[in-house]
Symmetry: C2
Subunit: 363 residues, 2 copies
């Protein structure tokens, strides 16, 4: 067994389902918190469990650099390494190579890049990205793609999409030949998802979807969005692309978005999403609440005895005041990051819970 | 009711007891974790409760500067401000004024100092230190003293001791006149402890103890140690000073020490201790274990699947490997500080639990 996906209820375009990986069940639509370096910054794993997190995303690029794939593999893979028994998804490293690293050189073969940590030179190809992700041993791994920049000339977008398609084939071929090498001790193998590219061109998106489906994957991601385009355009591309994805396979929209956006994309028929926004915003004191976004650093909260969000039942809102959270943030205390992150993740997970509930009710 | 102290078992010089404050019971000998700015850096209050922490120490100097005493007072005092219902002790601010601030000017009246944060000028006297500690509203507060530097000339040590005695009288007088102003909503008042000084001179220590007892406090601290003197000398001064303290009152040794030292001081008859060592060392990756001190940053732990301390039952040792803790520390991840602190505090609290158990058994 590598992956099962069962749709249990639908409401117009939206679907509620269960994703079953070798490490457990995931209720969809799901928001996946980002644990870049095998940790959701500041939050212990038992707290993530208490929050109801069923699947985490980790970044191949970062783990490849630190502590290194071989290290994680020797230690039994990501699950054992970070003491997390539930599901994990890793990205392919492609997006970070294009967004974080310097002096990259792209060829048909792959991409040469310099580490953002020490400037050392590295090379990722579809094959080496698969090797890395098999060594890390997440439940769901991603084909190595080129994330097309925005804006881009039509010719450039097509060329980039064609490259991603050739890389998708190579990713699948390498994965099929090596998937038994996953360092797990449990039954089952990993599942490899394909990624649809095509920039903001709806025709290319359709072509990318159809040709990726021809290659054949157990799940499909929509990549290349949230790269600087207007949000209305993101929505348009998502809505158009979904039409060309098979209804019985999970659909993963990469790297989005605000609480309103993830609810909206779920309504369009997206099953999986990830975003650094709740965790990164927390570190900057930006907190999502039922009354809107709050910047906890503001002096107006210094004497506010009320909870951060009176409608939230998380361990932060049920115990601490805005005044205390403001003090922690203003004093640069580490507990600020811990508590802010727990709250923002709760808000995102609650948003998805509400969406799933609405779908069950047919709304 | 302000404070009760019951001795329940003794073994040679050591005593096991219960300290009862308006916010609960504290089993002694006790180690008090330091929560400088109304937070034990990186550790949420519910985790401190799970660890069995019954009393925390907070620093008046730091809270006076941030968020300010008036702010905490308006919010109902420290307990409500930081959402901590168990006991709290605040120091008088004297030690930090002498160790952290710049350009201090000492007079009979008090001490003028500059904030280590922004260089602004402030003044602490016995009266203003009491006012600050009443506003913060800890269960146990400390007389304003001068912490004598080491080494110091005999004449200087006597003068400093005499000043501390005059300040102790003024502290008590101000406290007695204003203790009803504590911003609590629960019954009872604060308890003010006196501080014995006298440098490393055993005769002056005796005189300081006797004259502080004459002023009369519900508990006595030994201050002015751990200021650079050799550890054997610390022990000698502690052992000698204890002889002159009343047996029926709690004895608090300020600012010590290693796990071995706190066990040793408890054996000498000390009831309360605090130290930044477990929390500060944790932030530097120095971890206390049953097998000795570990520097988790070392490369030798990179592939170590074992728990940090195989004899420790804390949530860190029961879940994570040394390899993972090393990765978190090497990657500068915030979770490193959180987990390391939880473990080191567990080690200190377990050490005191073992000491109390030994005393009960008469050993």
């Amino acid at each position: 067994m590598s992956l099962e996906f069962h749709i249990e209820a639908t409401a117009e375009s939206a679907r509620r389902g269960r994703l079953i990986t070798p490490h457990g069940e995931v209720e969809t639509p799901v928001f996946m918190p980002v644990g870049t370096l095998a940790t959701v910054k500041g939050v212990p794993q038992d707290v993530l469990e208490d929050l109801g997190v069923e699947i985490l995303l980790s970044n191949t690029y970062h783990l490849y650099l630190r502590p290194g794939v071989e290290q994680v593999r020797k230690l039994g893979g990501l699950h054992r390494f970070m003491a997390w028994d539930r599901s994990i998804l890793t990205d392919s490293g492609g997006f970070q190579v294009f967004s974080l690293s310097e002096l990259r050189k792209l060829t048909e073969e792959g991409v040469t890049f310099r580490s953002h940590l020490d400037g050392s030179s590295h090379f990722f190809s579809p094959e080496s990205a698969m090797e890395a992700q098999i060594g890390l041993g997440a439940d769901i791994i991603m084909a190595f793609d080129e994330c097309t920049e925005y804006p881009a000339e039509p010719e450039r977008v097509r060329k980039s999409m064609e490259l991603t398609l050739r890389w998708a084939e190579r990713s699948k071929k390498h994965f099929e030949g090596h998937k038994q090498e996953v360092p797990w001790d449990c039954a089952g193998t990993q599942a490899l998802f394909g990624i649809v590219q095509g920039g903001m061109d709806l025709g290319l998106r359709r072509e990318s979807a159809e040709r990726t489906i021809e290659i054949g994957f157990p799940g499909y991601a929509i990549g290349g969005l949230s790269v600087g385009e207007p949000r209305a355009l993101t929505r348009e591309v998502v809505a158009a692309t979904i039409q060309h994805l098979p209804a019985d396979k999970p659909r993963y929209l990469m790297g989005v978005g605000t609480p309103e956006e993830i609810a909206e994309y779920a309504r369009l028929g997206i099953d999986m999403m990830d975003c650094v926004l709740p965790t990164r915003a927390a570190r900057h004191g930006l907190l999502f609440t039922s009354e809107g976004k709050i910047s906890i650093k503001q002096a107006r909260y210094a004497c506010d005895r009320g909870p951060l969000d009176p409608k939230c039942g998380c361990r932060v809102c049920s115990r601490y005041s805005r005044a205390y959270l403001r003090h922690l943030y203003a004093s640069n205390e580490v507990l600020a990051q811990v508590l802010n992150t727990v709250h923002n993740l709760t808000f995102y997970l609650d948003t998805m819970r509400a969406v799933r509930h609405s779908i069950s009710l047919g709304r």
